[in-house]
């Protein structure tokens, strides 16, 4: 009985949300910024309401799937705990590793750039390494550097190194012979050409790598904590809370991860907009 009520109400919510969205998408205002923002919002909200209804009406145990309201409640109650985990995993582990990996990639790219021979070698090898499951190095780094954030930063550094390296190396090649010749007629040497022409021209590529690496950094930091960590951190909290069947805590951590990941990506995208404002993809 309650099962059919649940499914009917869920389908009703779905249909209502969908109808509004179809109406909005076909309306004359479909291309305004407000509607473009509203449509995905309605979609997300109807998913959340359906989730809440299903959990309540079917009386699904919170051990299997907690309701969104229960997750929100847990989230607001454990903000100090979540903040400590956030600082440990995102600020100390992911961010430090991200910066180290990016700087190392920049240095190697600039060194390799002096020789066209090395550049040709690094592009395929780097692209190949970027596709490998580097996150598997986590147990090794935890063994070498201890279980605190240093080992997480190392895993993250190695994970983000190759995508960023490949993009910088590819970007540094992205000038035309005409542009380089022009620099030569101005009497510009290697360094002047690098800083005034080639690095700026490489920026769209570099930011592409930096944006890809933001997600990798968070994944690396969280997964490395599965292999040993102090009693704080998002990966630690997720794996222990799963063991205790405290799924509302896990979901709260996932909310934190989602916010952190989007903010991190947003930051990279914002910086990209500021630096490469001249690029066609940034013009509106």
């Amino acid at each position: 009985m309650s099962g059919s009520v649940a499914f009917i109400s869920v389908i009703a919510v779905w249909a209502a949300g969908w109808l509004i969205n179809i109406r909005l998408a076909r309306s004359a205002a479909a291309n305004t910024r407000f509607v473009r923002f509203l449509v995905p919002l309605i979609f997300g909200l109807s998913l959340l309401i359906m989730w809440e209804l299903l959990v309540r009406l079917l009386e699904i145990s919170p051990v299997i799937l907690p309701a969104p309201t229960a997750i929100a409640e847990r989230f607001s109650q454990s903000i100090p705990l979540l903040w400590a985990d956030f600082v440990q995993t995102v600020i100390k582990g992911a961010m430090t590793g991200y910066v180290i990996g990016a700087l190392a990639a920049l240095i190697v790219a600039l060194l390799a750039d002096r020789s066209a021979f090395l550049t040709r070698g690094i592009l395929p090898v780097g692209g190949f390494m970027a596709a490998l499951p580097i996150v598997g190095t986590a147990p090794i780094f935890v063994k070498w550097l201890g279980s605190d954030w240093e080992s997480k930063a190392a895993v993250v550094g190695v994970m983000v190194f190759f995508p960023i390296l490949v993009n910088i190396v590819a970007g540094l090649r992205d000038t035309t012979a005409m542009q380089r010749d022009l620099m030569r007629t101005y009497g510009a040497g290697y360094w002047a050409t690098l800083f005034k022409l080639r690095l700026p021209a490489a920026m769209p590529f570099i930011f592409n790598g930096l944006k890809i690496a933001t997600t990798l950094a968070l994944i690396g930091a969280i997964v490395a904590e599965f292999f040993g960590s102090p009693t704080v951190g998002m990966g630690f909290r997720i794996s222990t809370s799963v063991g205790q069947l405290a799924l509302d805590v896990v979901w709260a951590e996932i909310v934190v991860a989602a916010i952190a990941g989007s903010a991190f990506y947003g930051l990279a995208a914002w910086a990209e907009g500021r630096v490469t404002f001249w690029h066609p993809s940034q013009r509106t």
């Binding site: 596709a131 996150v135 598997g136 969280i222 997964v223 794996s239």
Partner: protein, 306 residues
């Protein structure tokens, strides 16, 4: 083939760096072992050796450089040790043995392939929906893009527990995580691909009086193939990472992830390293396979890649 020599040079440099690093990384362990075996070591007590860095200790004990490459439980195994361990656990063990990496590889690979097939199938269907339905495009696409910024692997342990509590275990939960990871690259790539025909081409079909179905099968779908392959190559390696990570937090008994955990917990670094390299080789093989299929398909379709 012009890039063969540069690639070999870079690979050689990486290997050289690895071999050179083995000495300082393992020197403390080697010195302790040498002292127990009665070989002269400077300085003489383990406590005094702690004051030295790996490099400093190596310079004072040049005669111990050889043994650093052959430790049983090294901090950093040398390349030949990893290669030997790989050979022993793949070729010299029966593939049904619990210690065979082929057996563990198959456990992970089957979850990867199942998940990849599910994810790719759903991804293509969703992409078609997005391209042909404006409401779907406006509501789903922003979420698909936003989900790329979320560390989705954080969901892995929970999905496994959720499914485990409803009685689903083993292959399927891992496949779901793999599917989830390969799903979005395919959606994003296919949407881009299905939209890649330009107005001129669409107009040409109009003048031929082609139906929407013909437009899909004869123009949009073929045009999306290069994008699909680019997505498939990203998706398959993401699937493998998903399957490996899904094995970690729940203490799976078989698979590459389980081997890495076992090597970590029982202090057998060679097991971890062999599993890591086996996973890397598997990923490389899968990506290489898709590159090959891509080249053949595109050539047959008359679209040669640059």
């Amino acid at each position: 083939m012009k890039s063969l020599l540069p690639v070999l040079t870079v690979v050689g440099a990486i290997l050289l760096f690895w071999v050179v690093s083995v000495v300082p990384m393992n020197m403390h362990l080697t010195a302790d072992q040498a002292q127990r075996d009665g070989v002269a070591v400077t300085p003489e007590t383990p406590a005094a050796r702690q004051a030295y860095s790996g490099i400093g200790l190596s310079l004072r004990n040049l005669h111990l450089i050889g043994p650093t490459f052959t430790l049983d439980r090294p901090r950093l195994p040398s390349p030949h040790q990893v290669a030997l361990e790989l050979w022993q656990t793949t070729a010299e063990k029966k593939i049904t043995s619990k210690r065979s990496l082929v057996y563990h590889g198959w456990v992970t690979l089957s979850a990867t392939l199942l998940g990849f097939a599910i994810g790719t199938g759903l991804g293509i269907l969703l992409a078609v929906g997005i391209v042909y339905n404006r409401a779907m495009d406006m509501s789903v696409m922003p979420w698909a893009i936003a989900s790329q910024t979320i560390p989705i692997l954080a969901l892995a342990p929970m999905i496994i527990v959720m499914l485990g509590s409803v009685g689903i275990q083993g292959l399927f939960p891992k496949a779901i995580i793999s599917a989830y990871l390969s799903f979005f690259p395919v959606v994003v790539g296919m949407v881009k691909g299905l939209r890649s025909p330009d107005a001129m081409q669409l107009d040409l079909l109009h003048t031929y009086h082609a139906s929407p179905a013909q437009g899909f099968w004869k123009l949009r779908l073929p045009a999306s193939v290069p994008y699909l392959f680019a997505s498939l190559k990203i998706g398959i390696s993401a699937s493998l990472v998903g399957a490996i990570v899904a094995e970690l937090p729940t203490g799976a008994r078989a698979g590459f992830g389980a081997r890495m955990l076992v090597g970590d917990q029982y202090g057998q670094p060679l097991v971890t390293w062999a599993a890591l390299f086996a996973a890397a080789i598997t990923a490389a093989t899968l990506v290489g396979l898709f590159s090959l299929i891509e080249r053949i398909t595109l050539r047959r379709m008359g679209m040669t890649t640059a």
